[in-house]
Symmetry: C2
Subunit: 432 residues, 2 copies
C-alpha cells in the first residue's frame, strides 16, 4: 500500500508552526509497511485543496490528512475531502453532546463555531477524538481511502493509536520492522566507520545527526514481525562489531533514557550541578518516567554565590582559575555528590553565548565533570555551534555519556582527579 | 514571486527526523513577500526527484531546497537539480580547502566522501557554508531559480541569513510584515473573543495554540516595511482592546523572554523550586540571553528530603497535606525566595504522569505558588493532557504567567497567603 501525508493549514505555509505530525505519521506508516511517497503541506484554500486531493488520490491508495478540523471558519478540509471521495456530511448529535461535555469538563462553554465539528461522514465513518472537540473522518471510495485527523499533535496521536493504526494493521500482510541504534559521535566519522553497511538492500540503514549524537535507523521488510525483528537484530550486530561502545543504546528516545535505566539497574543515585545549562540536564533526566528512583537533587547554580552557597564551591578557586574552568567543574560535581549524598555527582560550567566569550574562552567553551567513588573526571569541551541552546544540548549529551560510562563500568573520558586534588587544585590531576 | 519549499531526504519520509527547516523558511519567505504555495518532502530517489523538480519548476518562480547535500552516497540532489536547470557541476579547490580546514578545526579528518561536497555550479554559483562542510548551490534558468541549502538546521539558517535572504530581499518590492501577539488562554475562547477580527483581509490574523498559550499572527501586505509595520500596529490595537492583559507580549519566542525582560526592567530577582517540572522552568528562563541578571538560584527538589534540605520545606506539612498540595507548593516558593535571598520565589509540585495519579490527585494535578513581598499565591491546576512533557510545559507556562503578573503589577491569579500562614498552614489563607 502507498500513502501520502497531507498537512493542511495556512499557519504551516506561513511558518507559524513546526509540522511534527508528518514525522510521527511517516514513522508509523513505515512500521505498517505502507510506503510514504510524499509529504505535502498546503493552505486552507478550498479550491487549491480540492485540486491537490484529486491529484493525490490518483497517486496513492491512502491519503492521511492532519489539520483543518478545528472550530475556525477557514477549516474546510472535511467538506472538501468528502466531496472528492463522493461523500457528504451530516450532524451527529452524539458528537455534539461529547463536545459540550468536553467543554464542561475543562470549565469552558462550547462556542457556536464548535458546532460544525459535529458534522460526520455519511458513507464513511467518524473517528472518535478522546482529547479534543474535533472528531476525525474516514472516507472510502472503492480501493481509495482518506483519513482525516486533527492538527493538534496529542489529539492526532491518540486518535491514530486508538482508532486508525489497528484497522490499517489488519489490512497489511507484509510488515516493515525498524530498530534505531543511538551513537555518540559525528555523521562523517560514523559513515566512514560503518562504510558499505549503509548500501545494504534489506534491511536498509540510514544515519541522522543530532546535537552530539547520531541515529542509525535499520529497517527490514519481512512477511511477519518476528522475522523482521530477527533480520534487524542480525544486521544491528554488524554495526555493534564496528562501532562498539559508541552505540549507547537502541530504540530509546534519547541518552537520558539510557542513563536512567543504567542507574536503576546498578542502584546508583545521581545529583547534578548546572551553570550554563541552567537545569537542562535535570530536565532531560526527569523527562524519563521513573527518574525519581535515581535522581533527587538538582542544583542550578547560575551565579557564583549560588555555586558557593548551594554546593560549597570555593570562591578562591573561582577567583584563581575562572568560573569557567576544570577545577570549578570538578568542585561542582564533587559538591553536588557530597551535598546530595548521591553516588554520582556531575558539574557543568561554560559559555553558551551569544555573549560572554573571549579569545581565551570563546562561546562554546564548556567544562564538565563527573564525581564517583574516589575519582573525579573533567573534560574541556569546545562546542562549534551558532546557537545558545545547541551548545547547552551538546554539553548535556557529553555529560550523559560520561554518566553512562561511569554507571556501566566503561572508561570515563577525561582527566582524572582525586577528591583531594579537587578540594585543593594546586595539586595536579593524576593524568593531565 | 511564488515559491515552493522542497525538503529532500528518505530520513524525512521514514519519519526519522522532524522537518523544522520548512517552518523556518516559510516564515522567512513570507516576510520577504514571497508566497509559499506548497511545502513538499520527497525521498533521495533521483528519478522521482527529477520528475518532481520539473513539475515544481513550472509552478513556482523559486524552488528552495534543503537536504541532500551531505557527504553520504545517496545525496544526489545537487546533481539532479543542476540538470533540471541546465547547469553542470565542477570541482572547487577553494571549497575543498575549506572542507579539509574545517575538519582540522574540529580535530577530525576529511573523508573521501566529503570530496563530492566540493562540487559547485558552473553557470550558477555556490553558496558559502560557514558552519559545515557542504556548500550550497544557486541555479538560474531564465526567470526560474533554485536554491539548494544543507539539511542541518544551523548550517541552513546561517547560509540563509548571510547569503540568500539579502539577495532575495533586493529583488522584492512589495513586503509582507508580520507581528505575533502571544496570549495566555485557549483557542476557542480567544476565537470567540476576537470574533470577526480573524476574517480581516489585510492585515490578516491567524491563531495557533501551544501548551497553555496561543499565538495570534498578524500579517500585513504593504509597499514598504514602515507602512506594513504601521498597519500591523494599528490592527494589533484592536486585539489588545478585546483581549487586554491576556496578551502577554508580542514578537517574543515565548513567555520566558517576557518574564526575563520584565524582571530586568523592574530590577527583580527570581528563584525557582521545582519538583514535577524537574528543572524545566529554570531551563526555560536560562534559555533567554541575559537571564543571569535576574536568575541565580534554581532548586530541583525532586525528592521530599531535597525539599526539606535545600529550601526548608517542613516534612510535617508534607505528611499532613501530601507532597502534592497547596501548602507544600507555598513552602517551596517561600523557601526558594528566602534561601536564595531573591525578590520572587516560585514553587511547583504535581503529578506529571504517566504513573503516580489516583482518584484524589489524577495525573495532571499540579500546585504552583509564587512568593513576593508579604504575599504568597497558590494555584491548583488540573491539566488535561496525555503526555508527561505536556503537563510539565503547561505547569511552567502557568508559573511564568504568575511571575509576569507579579512583576508587572497585575493581579496575580490564585489564593493569597501570608508568610505566617505558609509557615503554619493550620491558619487559613486570606481568600480561600
Amino acid at each position: 500500500m502507498t500513502a501520502e501525508i497531507i498537512s493542511v493549514g495556512t499557519e504551516l505555509l506561513l511558518g507559524n508552526i513546526v509540522n511534527t505530525n508528518a514525522q510521527y505519521l511517516s514513522r508509523e506508516l513505515a512500521d505498517l509497511g505502507i510506503s510514504v511517497l510524499r509529504q505535502s503541506t498546503i493552505g486552507d484554500n478550498p479550491a487549491r485543496l480540492e485540486q491537490w486531493v484529486t491529484e493525490a488520490k490518483t497517486r496513492a491508495d491512502l491519503l492521511v490528512f492532519t489539520g483543518g478540523l478545528g472550530p475556525t471558519a477557514d477549516d474546510l478540509t472535511k467538506e472538501t475531502v468528502a466531496a472528492c471521495y463522493g461523500d457528504t456530511l451530516h450532524f451527529d448529535a452524539q458528537e455534539w453532546d461529547k463536545i459540550t461535555a468536553f467543554f464542561t469538563r475543562i470549565h469552558r462553554e462550547a462556542t457556536p463555531n464548535n458546532r460544525k465539528q459535529a458534522m460526520v461522514p455519511t458513507k464513511g465513518h467518524k473517528i472518535v477524538n478522546q482529547y479534543g472537540t474535533a472528531p476525525g473522518a474516514w472516507f472510502v471510495d472503492g480501493d481509495r481511502q482518506a483519513i482525516l485527523m486533527p492538527g493538534v499533535p496529542r489529539e492526532m496521536k491518540a486518535m491514530w493509536e486508538e482508532s486508525v493504526r489497528p484497522v490499517l494493521a489488519q489490512k497489511q500482510e507484509q510488515t516493515l520492522v525498524s530498530t534505531t541504534l543511538r551513537v555518540f559521535g559525528g555523521e562523517s566519522w560514523i559513515e566512514t566507520t560503518v562504510g558499505s553497511l549503509l548500501d545494504h538492500e534489506n534491511p536498509t540503514a540510514a544515519i541522522y545527526c543530532k546535537p552530539g549524537e547520531c541515529e542509525i535507523r535499520i529497517t527490514a521488510r519481512a512477511a511477519d514481525r518476528p522475522t523482521g525483528e530477527q533480520m534487524c537484530r542480525d544486521f544491528a550486530k554488524k554495526f555493534y562489531e564496528v562501532l562498539g561502545p559508541a552505540i549507547y543504546d537502541a530504540d530509546v528516545p534519547g541518552p537520558a533514557w539510557t542513563v536512567v535505566r543504567l542507574l536503576r539497574e546498578k542502584g546508583l543515585t545521581l545529583a547534578a550541578a548546572e551553570s550554563c545549562t541552567g537545569g537542562l540536564l535535570a530536565e532531560q533526566i526527569t523527562q524519563v518516567p521513573g527518574a525519581s528512583e535515581v535522581f533527587g537533587f538538582g542544583y542550578v547554580t547560575y551565579w557564583e554565590q549560588a555555586k558557593a552557597k548551594m554546593i560549597g564551591v570555593n570562591p578562591d578557586v573561582i577567583a584563581q582559575y575562572n568560573v569557567v574552568s576544570a577545577p570549578v567543574a570538578a568542585q561542582m560535581a564533587l559538591g553536588a555528590k557530597r551535598t546530595a549524598g548521591a553516588d554520582i555527582g556531575v558539574g557543568i560550567t561554560g559559555i553558551a553565548g551569544p555573549g560572554g566569550g573571549d579569545a581565551q574562552r570563546p562561546v562554546g567553551t564548556v567544562f564538565v565533570a563527573l564525581a564517583m567513588g574516589d575519582c573525579v573526571w573533567t573534560r574541556h569541551l569546545t562546542l562549534v555551534s551558532n546557537t545558545r541552546q545547541d551548545v547547552r544540548l551538546r554539553a548535556v549529551v557529553c555529560v550523559l555519556d560520561m554518566i553512562r560510562c561511569a554507571a556501566s563500568g566503561l572508561e570515563v573520558p577525561g582527566t582524572v582527579w582525586t577528591p583531594e586534588q579537587v578540594d585543593n587544585p594546586t595539586l595536579k590531576p593524576v593524568h593531565e
